[in-house]
């Protein structure tokens, strides 16, 4: 049992939708990331994804690409992210999930990464370039260390693959709302809602919908058939501009809208 399961259980008891906020480690800088974590937790975030910057982030749109480059230019490394997580754990018990790309993990050594990440205080990892077909070895490593490897479904995931994913999923299932990459855009969330209901038939693992959510209205729509929503670019964009207070207010607006609607 990690902080992720405990938080989802608490949300269920309180009949609340979960709010996952993505922050890039090292944006605007290390100190700024620590402040941002405090700010978004204060504003009502339930989970925080910590972005592990990669030079070639295939699944990310312009905002998070730029944030990754900023972090790398500032000297952020995978080991540096783990140091940052240790700092965060001095003051928060919010579930923290690392989100990055497989090459950094392989270079670090997958087994070593999971052990060090767990010890630092991460509860799981999201690696968007590792689909179910490529994740068996990593899943086994994570399972051994009680570390969550978050899996994905999308509107295009076939029923056969959806069933396979649900069978091995733990922590939560990341439901990608739209074909494309991360970033704020207008999306018909009823499509992923249908997918979420199919997931619900297969597993009790919570569902978090992400990609494209840029407003409180979008968060409410996206949360309809899900347990949580994930918001990244809309927050990172504000942090890139050094507007931590604005980011905090934005997250608070998401919290209020979700609590009012559900």
């Amino acid at each position: 049992m990690t902080r992720i399961e405990k938080k989802f259980a608490a949300l269920k008891d309180a009949k609340k939708k979960g709010l996952v906020i993505y922050l890039m480690a090292g944006v605007p800088d290390v100190k700024g990331t620590i402040e941002a974590v405090k700010a978004v937790e204060r504003a009502g975030a339930d989970f925080i994804e910590i972005g592990l910057p990669f030079s070639d982030p295939l699944a990310d749109g312009p905002v998070i690409q730029a944030a990754g480059i900023r972090a790398l230019k500032g000297g952020m490394t995978l080991a540096g992210v783990l140091e940052l997580v240790k700092e965060l754990r001095k003051f928060t018990e919010i579930p923290l999930i690392g989100m990055g790309y497989i090459n950094n993990v392989l270079h670090y050594g997958a087994e070593q990464f999971v052990a060090d990440a767990k010890a630092a205080g991460l509860d799981g990892a999201i690696l968007p370039d590792v689909p179910h077909e490529e994740s068996a070895a990593l899943r086994a490593i994570c399972a051994k260390q009680d570390f969550r490897l978050i899996e994905f479904v999308t509107p295009g995931t076939t029923p056969e693959r959806l069933a396979q994913t649900c069978e091995s999923a733990n922590g939560f299932i990341y439901a990608v709302s739209v074909n494309g990459v991360t970033g704020e855009k207008k999306i018909d969330y009823s499509i992923i809602g249908k997918v979420a209901r199919k997931v619900r038939e297969e597993t009790n693992v919570p569902i978090a919908v992400g990609f494209g959510i840029g407003s409180a209205e979008a968060a409410v729509e996206a949360a309809k058939d899900a347990d949580a929503v994930i918001v990244g670019s809309a927050v990172v964009r504000r942090l890139m501009d050094g507007k931590t207070k604005e980011a905090e207010d934005f997250v608070a607006s998401l919290r209020r809208a979700l609590d009012a609607a559900y």
Binding site: A66, I69, L72, N104, P128, D129, E134, G156, T157, N179
Partner: protein
């Protein structure tokens, strides 16, 4: 279905969004690759439009220059649009047509694959978007205009370093958002499965033709096979047919650029590259101590890619192919040499393979045979070479 491995290399390290379309492509390719009607259609375009088979030319003066083995050049430079790239572009465009896609997209570095894809799209009346880094657009203005003439839309990519690797990432991102009506014609034997296999299969006509032509020209004897390696499409096409022939020594030549320092070369297999994941495949990759991808450098825009096709990684580990490098300066020397001795201006990429003759030929005997894949013609590089040689145009 398998996720396509060459030994431990390859695979499908892509976002979930892309998985359905890779599965669709895999199924379509399985269906058509042995389909006589499909094969005849592709062959028809290759023979009557692109100019296959290309000649196997005995380079008599170059042979005499070295005084060793007989040197034969596989003249891919004589193909329509000036390089081997058209073979894959036409094959994949026919496949895209059969899959009912109305748009093709491509990434390009030097612009050769972009031009080839734009050409195939024009021929089949398909919409075409070519992703190209802003740095490369500046370096390759002529090819940018060629693509526009062919009706393609060139989309500038300013993310990252604005070069081929960023253009490739952006093409994959665009594809992820337009999977229903778009086929991504990847230009080299890289990317997630099934691309390395598809590109290799289309390009393996190079090796097949060499085998058949060598029978007539040399009684079938080949001692050395040489090809340059960037992403590795002309080289995999050259080597694949001979992968089990231990008597044929296969040498892949990478770009040694301007030195050994990180970021100064493209020696993915012959230098400091380590296995990792770039653009959907597990293969050798140039990366730093933290697993960040390092920008590759070469004077030749077709070779400055920090990854390499996964089958080459397998060939390296299995000892099937030897991978070496030559520098910018050595390639420039070979560029001039072939122009002066044989009246053939080679592409700077191919000039890398030619430059390796300097090292190889003194070790060869007169009765031996060297076959070198002359992957493209050098017209596109003339400006670049003039600049490198300090000449005003």
């Amino acid at each position: 279905m398998t996720t396509g491995r060459f030994g431990k290399y390859g695979g499908q390290f892509v976002p979930e969004i892309v998985m359905p379309v890779l599965t669709e492509l895999q199924a379509a390719y399985e269906k058509y690759k042995d389909d006589e009607d499909f094969k005849a259609e592709v062959r028809g375009y290759l023979e009557r439009y692109a100019g296959r088979p290309t000649m196997l030319y005995y380079a008599k003066r170059l042979t005499e220059h070295y005084g060793g083995a007989k040197i034969y050049l596989k003249r891919e430079d004589l193909l329509h649009t000036g390089a081997h790239k058209i073979t894959n572009a036409l094959g994949q465009a026919v496949l895209a047509k059969r899959m009912g896609k109305k748009r093709v997209i491509a990434e390009t570095g030097a612009g050769q694959h972009g031009v080839a894809t734009a050409t195939a799209a024009a021929l089949f009346g398909m919409e075409c978007h070519v992703f190209m880094g802003t740095t490369d657009i500046e370096r390759q203005k002529l090819n940018v205009f060629r693509m526009k003439l062919l009706g393609a839309q060139v989309i500038p990519v300013s993310s990252g370093t604005g070069t081929l690797k960023d253009a490739t990432s952006e093409a994959i991102r665009y594809w992820a958002a337009h999977i229903e009506d778009t086929h991504y014609i990847i230009g080299s034997a890289v990317g997630p499965h099934p691309y390395p296999t598809i590109v290799r299969d289309f390009q393996s006509c190079i090796g097949n033709e060499i085998r058949a032509q060598a029978k007539k020209e040399t009684g079938g004897r080949i001692d050395y096979l040489l090809a340059c390696v960037g992403g590795g499409s002309n080289s995999i096409g050259t080597f694949y047919e001979f992968r089990d022939d231990v008597s044929v020594k296969k040498i892949g030549i990478e770009a040694g650029g301007r030195g050994e320092a990180e970021g100064d070369n493209a020696k993915t297999l012959s230098g400091t590259g380590k296995p990792g994941v770039l653009h959907g495949a597990y293969s050798y990759v140039l990366q730093d101590g933290d697993g960040q991808i390092v920008e590759a450098y070469s004077l030749s825009a077709g070779l400055d890619y920090p990854g390499v096709g996964p089958e080459h990684s397998y060939f390296k580990d299995a000892g099937i192919v030897e991978y070496v490098s030559v520098t910018d300066q050595e390639a420039l020397g070979a560029f001039r040499r072939l122009s002066e001795i044989e009246g053939i201006i080679p592409a700077l990429e191919s000039a890398h393979a030619l430059a390796y003759l300097e090292k190889l030929m003194p070790k060869t005997k007169k009765d031996e045979v060297v076959v070198l894949c002359l992957s493209g013609r050098g017209d596109k590089d003339v400006q670049m070479v003039a600049k490198a040689l300090g000449e005003e145009l």
